[in-house]
């Protein structure tokens, strides 16, 4: 069986899987950004309770494996009455995990904004929320964009684990095709290429473009 024939026969399945992977990626990314923002800001808070919650959250999600977290969310939470569908459990686990890493990026990005910016905003009598939202975060965002590019690639790789709770993503479909055909090289070779193209030809250029746009908005490009 030639590779063309292989693709003609199994390509559609792998394509379906790719679409599920893409969906997992976008949903997990949205969640990771939200979690990162909330936890990153909480960690910078003066309120010890908020700070404590974020420290514990970040520690747990960075200190244990994503796979274990995924199993927890899918198999253990139902024991506490929280049942998530496998598709949901998949991106929630990935998003919460990468969000913990993102929180550190948010924190670092904010701390890297020069003190003079806080002082200038304060001297215009801006409220803490306005100061953060209008002055500090836009600059922090530019500081942390390159690191987010790497994080999103990690996130994409992380989504491959959702196959282990039977979400029909690219990895899941690849394993199905493999066990039906035993054409491991073709199957996993194709999956490898798809993941690579996704990160290097979609995520990386998009993040570069975003950075350029942001820089231009700052008159720096």
């Amino acid at each position: 069986m030639s590779y063309t024939e292989f693709l003609a026969e199994h390509g559609p399945r792998l394509l379906d899987g790719t679409l599920v992977t893409a969906a997992q990626f976008f949903l997990a990314t949205a969640l990771a950004i939200a979690v990162a923002l909330v936890m990153g800001l909480m960690k910078l808070s003066d309120n010890w309770l908020l700070k404590g919650v974020s420290v514990v959250y970040i520690e747990i999600f960075r200190g244990t494996s994503l796979l274990v977290q995924l199993y927890w969310i899918f198999f253990v939470l139902p024991l506490f009455g929280v049942t998530l569908e496998k598709f949901t459990a998949g991106f929630v686990a990935v998003g919460m995990n990468l969000g913990a890493y993102g929180a550190e990026l948010v924190r670092g990005g904010i701390l890297a904004v020069p003190k003079g910016q806080w002082e200038a905003a304060y001297s215009l009598s801006m409220s803490p929320a306005r100061r953060m939202w209008r002055i500090i975060l836009p600059q922090a965002l530019l500081n942390m964009l390159p690191a987010w590019g790497n994080l999103l690639i990690e996130l994409l790789k992380g989504t491959a684990l959702v196959a282990l709770i039977s979400v029909a993503d690219l990895m899941f479909e690849a394993r199905q095709v493999n066990s039906a055909t035993y054409l491991s090289a073709q199957t996993f070779g194709t999956a490898l290429i798809i993941y690579y193209v996704f990160s290097r030809f979609l995520i990386t250029p998009f993040m570069r473009w975003l950075e350029l746009v942001m820089r231009r908005k700052m008159g720096r490009a």
């Binding site: 020069p114 003079g116 215009l124 409220s127 803490p128 306005r130 600059q139 700052m218 008159g219």
Partner: protein, 270 residues
């Protein structure tokens, strides 16, 4: 707990100063920077602060705008800003009160601190729109007027990264003025500038002195400029005002030895 009962709740009457530092102590940890510091600045007065590095000049401005004090009370425009009134007594100001109380103050910094993600005019509109609640149209008109005044109207749509230091500082002055402050603070606003652009910034400040009835407190190393435009010059040494007077008195006939030493050191340095 400090006994605050000797401090008035408000400063009233025709003689009330625009700014009063009333027996103020400022410490950083164990380091006492200002102790029992007193200074009045009258409405419309231009007071310049000079003195050696580390003598506490910046700190005097920062406790008005940015930092808390440990003892004493600071008043601006009659009201305490370091403290607030509660049941007829002064208590330390809450964050919210502090921010409101500082609204009549504007500050310009040595390193300009313009917002890099906004154009010159956006920098000047930010405070009026976000804090004062002006409509964008009104804020734009106000910003254009001020940018015109500081000679930056042609560059109003440029980002700070495209402006020279002198141009950035002029925008920063316009940004502070857009809040219609009663008191302006200038902390060595020309120290980070190349010599050839210092003049364009001092010209703007000169204009403010002559055309507006702003109360100003300015830290500077430019003795000639200070002599030209100040109503009063304070020489700082070790966190205290060692000597003060009119520019003629202080520069022409300094009484204290430390003042004489400082002025001659500055003069010989060029």
């Amino acid at each position: 707990m400090e006994d605050l009962s000797r401090f008035p709740l408000r400063l009233e009457g025709p003689d009330a100063p625009m700014v009063r530092f009333d027996h103020v102590t400022k410490r950083y940890g164990d380091l006492v920077v200002l102790e029992d510091f007193c200074l009045d600045v009258a409405e419309g007065e231009m007071v310049t602060v000079i003195g050696p590095s580390g003598s506490g000049k910046t700190t005097v401005l920062r406790i008005l705008m940015l930092e808390r004090i440990q003892e004493g009370v600071i008043y601006v425009d009659g009201a305490p800003i370091s403290h607030m009134e509660k049941k007829g007594r002064l208590v330390p100001a809450s964050e919210r009160y502090l921010r409101r109380a500082r609204e009549p103050i504007g500050m310009c910094f040595q390193h300009f601190n313009l917002f890099p993600h906004m154009t010159a005019i956006q920098n000047c509109m930010e405070g009026p729109v976000q804090v004062l609640g002006l409509s964008r149209q009104d804020a734009r008109e106000r910003a254009e007027e001020l940018l015109e005044m500081v000679g930056m109207i042609e560059k109003k749509d440029e980002h700070p990264s495209r402006l020279s230091g002198g141009q950035q500082q002029r925008v920063a002055i316009a940004r502070a003025l857009a809040m219609r402050p009663k008191v302006m603070l200038f902390d060595e606003v020309t120290s980070a500038l190349d010599p050839e652009v210092i003049g364009e910034v001092t010209e703007v400040i000169r204009k403010l002195v002559h055309e507006h009835r702003l109360t100003m407190l300015m830290v500077t190393h430019q003795m000639g400029f200070a002599a030209d435009i100040s109503d009063r010059v304070c020489f700082f040494y070790g966190g205290r005002i060692e000597e003060q007077g009119t520019p003629e008195e202080l520069f022409g006939n300094p009484q204290k030895e430390r003042t004489q030493q400082f002025l001659s050191a500055v003069k010989s340095a060029g």
